[in-house]
């Protein structure tokens, strides 16, 4: 005896959220952004240096002394390091390891912190607000890096800054500062300077804690959104697949219904009462409409699932394409006593023959359906600029101006259209719109209610036949 057991499948495990910072692409982009910003800093240093050099007298009268030589030296250092970072970053590609990209960023941060420490020392480390410029790097590192690495940036900043303060307090290297009186006021009050320095460092660590925690929360939320988005896309694709499969499966039962109707019409028609005949005609019509709707749903699904990338562009003989479509639709036109006037010349276009045939077939069939009995549908083509303008005109019921922007929407039908053509699937123009989107074609619709409609499709011109 054979047996089969259906066991529940293990549910997909979700990966733990990654809090290790931004991805490679973003980090590399930020590395370049850092460099661009550094050129601005270089320009500011150079300009402020010029100000200190040429307006020294004026600044002195306001109680300020700008260390212009120091600023120029720092600008020079930044130019050199920035060029190095630029060449280093340019050698990195998207496939480079994250370690290399992070090395570039770390070198930039550490060199910036060194330059910044010199600047802070020159400007005044404990009697101006310049030490708070370290916060820029601390904040940015919290955004770019995981918590531990951003803490390291904060610690390095604190070590550099405290070292500079200690060097000043101990008199190893006393900088004049930018305030003429400020330095003198503070130079003998070492405890106050220590209090200032420690307060600043305390603020940095609070800032690090807040920003790194928030950044981590944002990163986790981003990942949640990204995972949710992926799941939605997967679910949507699966749903579409299921709908298409189900729709496809409906083809066979409808073919069965239709064949039974045909049997009844061919073999038992004379034996049926007029009332029964009316009902059977209605079932036949309904089955035909549903069959056409199934066909349209499958065409639309196929167009969407293939997407733009899979479309093979080729040279299409437009006349041959239109001739084929018109041959297929002639019987339908004759049943409605609509005359088809085909004036498409021998011309070739760039497109996809299969999709162009579906597009033309839908437009011409629509024109037939919405023409009055005894009407005419004219199909023509002319070269306009670098494109072929294919026009399909009817003298049918026309479209209300307010309905025009909606006619390419799925299942959209005006009240008048639904009344005039009860068997419309509501998908014909959606298919036209989808193909136009795939082949990047422009469509212009001109219509006057009660007078008729012209669809103009602009297809890239290839040449004469």
């Amino acid at each position: 005896m054979k047996s089969f057991e259906l066991s529940p499948q293990p549910t997909k495990t979700t990966k733990p959220y990654d809090t290790s910072g931004l991805d490679k692409q973003v980090l590399l982009r930020n590395a370049f952004w850092f460099m661009t910003f550094r050129w601005i800093v270089v320009a500011v240093f150079a300009l402020v240096g010029l100000l200190g050099r040429f307006f020294a007298g004026l600044l002195l009268s306001k109680g300020l002394v700008l260390p212009f030589r120091g600023l120029w030296i720092l600008a020079g250092v930044l130019i050199g390091t920035n060029l190095f970072f630029f060449l280093f970053a340019r050698s990195l590609k998207s496939e480079s390891t994250i370690t290399l990209i992070k090395t570039n960023l770390w070198l930039q941060i550490v060199s910036d912190l060194i330059v910044l420490t010199f600047l802070v020392h020159m400007i005044g480390s404990t009697y101006t607000f310049i030490p708070f410029t370290y916060l820029f790097h601390i904040t940015l590192s919290c955004i770019f890096f995981p918590k531990r690495e951003s803490l390291l940036v904060t610690v390095i900043s604190a070590v550099f800054y405290c070292t500079s303060v200690i060097i000043e307090i101990t008199g190893i290297w006393v900088a004049p500062g930018i305030l003429v009186s400020g330095a003198g006021m503070w130079e003998n009050t070492a405890p106050l300077r220590v209090v200032f320095a420690l307060s600043a460092v305390f603020v940095w660590f609070v800032e690090w804690y807040m920003v790194s925690s928030l950044s981590e929360a944002v990163r986790v939320r981003d990942q949640r959104l990204s995972i949710a988005n992926e799941r939605l896309i997967e679910a949507d694709a699966e749903k579409t697949r299921q709908v298409l499969l189900t729709t496809h499966d409906l083809k066979a039962p409808f073919a069965g219904i239709e064949s039974n109707i045909q049997v009844m019409k061919h073999q038992h028609w004379d034996t049926l009462s007029p009332e029964v005949k009316t009902i059977i005609e209605r079932i036949d019509q309904r089955a035909q409409t549903l069959r056409e709707r199934i066909r349209d749903i499958l065409i639309l699904g196929d167009l969407r699932s293939r997407g733009v990338k899979e479309i093979k562009l080729e040279t299409v003989d437009l006349k041959k394409c239109i001739d084929g479509v018109i041959t297929e639709l002639t019987e339908r036109a004759q049943s409605r006593e609509v005359r088809l006037d085909n004036r498409v010349p021998g011309i070739t276009v760039r497109g996809n023959s299969e999709q162009l045939a579906i597009l033309c077939s839908n437009l011409i069939a629509n024109a037939i359906y919405y023409s009055h009995e005894g009407g005419e549908v004219a199909v023509a083509a002319a070269i306009e600029n670098a494109a072929v303008c294919l026009s399909v005109s009817d003298r049918g019921i026309g479209i209300k101006p307010e309905a025009l922007p909606h006619i390419f929407e799925e299942y959209y039908r005006t009240k008048e259209a639904a009344r005039f053509n009860r068997n419309s699937t509501g998908l014909g123009l959606s298919i036209v719109g989808e193909i136009a989107q795939n082949l990047k074609l422009k469509i212009r619709v001109e219509s006057e209610e009660g007078r008729g409609t012209t669809f103009k499709v602009y297809i890239p011109y290839h040449g004469e036949r």
Partner: protein, 130 residues
């Protein structure tokens, strides 16, 4: 024999209903939209209305018309049966339990497709009540 109006944007379905109702001896008329329906109802004075809910211009057109009928003194007593496929379109589980003098002022709620016997039974019930 009663005069029954069917308002449904699917004219095929309206005509099918019409055939069923005619087979039971009723006189019927059909319309495919709710626009100007109140004026037509006042003019034709049917004994009962079978009304769809979703129309191309207004997905809740049937609800709106039912409310308009209740607020029109001449039509206040007209029995209305909602016959709809709204639950197939939107998973909202509408049923006769939702009938409400303000929100859904109708006498009965039926889902498409309806069996002819069920429809005729409901029609008879409502007509005999009036």
């Amino acid at each position: 024999m009663a005069k029954i109006m069917v308002i449904d944007d699917d004219l095929d379905l309206a005509e099918d209903l019409s055939l069923i109702l005619k087979s039971a001896g009723h006189q019927t008329s059909t319309r495919d939209d709710t626009e100007g329906a109140v004026a037509i109802l006042m003019e034709q004075k049917p004994d009962l209305l079978i009304l769809d809910v979703m129309f191309p211009e207004n997905p809740a057109g049937g609800f709106d018309l039912a409310r308009e009928i209740r607020s029109t003194p001449e039509l206040r007593d007209l029995p209305v049966i909602l016959l709809t496929a709204i639950n197939q379109e939107f998973p909202m589980d509408f049923s006769s339990n939702d009938i409400d003098p303000e929100w859904m002022p109708v006498q009965d709620f039926l889902e498409k497709p309806v069996a002819p016997d069920v429809l005729l039974q409901k029609v008879d019930e409502l007509l005999s009540r009036n």
